[in-house]
Amino acid sequence: MARFGRSRPGFIRLRLREEEVDALSLMEDLLSSVGLREGDPAEERLTVPAYPDDAEAQDEYGRFMASELEGQRRRDRAAVFRLLQDARAGPLDLALDEAEAWLMVLNEARLALAARLGIEEEGWGELEEGEGPPTPAKMLLIYLTEVQGGLIEALADQI
């Protein structure tokens, strides 16, 4: 059964098994840990400078945009984790802005995990023979990528 599917126009049906709610809840601790320790690669990946070669322009841009971005991400996360718990009770219809929040939070979690895993090249999703089982963080990354893929398909139909 698809996690994200068709609903009435302007909505996306979210259907999750209990164990998936638990797995997706791992994003909450992951994302709230970003930036807690110094030099966290996840924080670096999530705060890309708009003007990498112009410190003055970047300072000015960052002064307005950094707190705005952080506040927006916090609101998106709060909405997603509330809806995630609601999804335990049964299928939900997500409004498009809620589905967008899901899209962004899933991506934020993927980027944070990949940055901490030191992923710098494509092909990370393919498991090498004889490499042994992937780490829990890698497994979560692969799982979130699959979940996000389904949401992308559902949203692409709605544009």
Binding site: A50, P52, L69, L103, M104, L111, T145, I152, L155
Partner: protein, 95 residues
């Protein structure tokens, strides 16, 4: 379209900066964002057709970067902010 007669006051123009050139919004390749995700983001943020969004995504993928929009500075910064919200690796540079 009708134009009212009358004089137009010209604003002072800063000769040193050529504002007409605008600012490029650049998206860089990264190994984590899905191709289908990048296409979706370009369609949503810029209203591009699937064809144009796919072409730009492939340019990012193969060339390492692509200019996805050119606009006045304020608009370019808003675009960059929105792309950062989506987790794309976006920067701004003068045309």
């Amino acid at each position: 379209m009708a134009v009212l007669p009358g004089t137009i006051e010209m604003p002072d123009i800063d000769e040193k900066i050529d504002h007409s050139r605008g600012w490029n919004v650049v998206v860089w390749n990264d190994p984590v964002n899905l191709m289908s995700y990048v296409v979706l983001v370009f369609r949503k943020v810029f209203g591009y057709t699937e064809e144009k969004a796919t072409r730009l995504m492939l340019e990012v993928h193969h060339e390492g970067r692509s200019v996805v929009n050119t606009a006045p500075r304020e608009k370019a910064e808003m675009d960059c902010y929105t792309l950062h919200r989506y987790g794309l690796w976006a920067t701004i540079e003068r045309v």
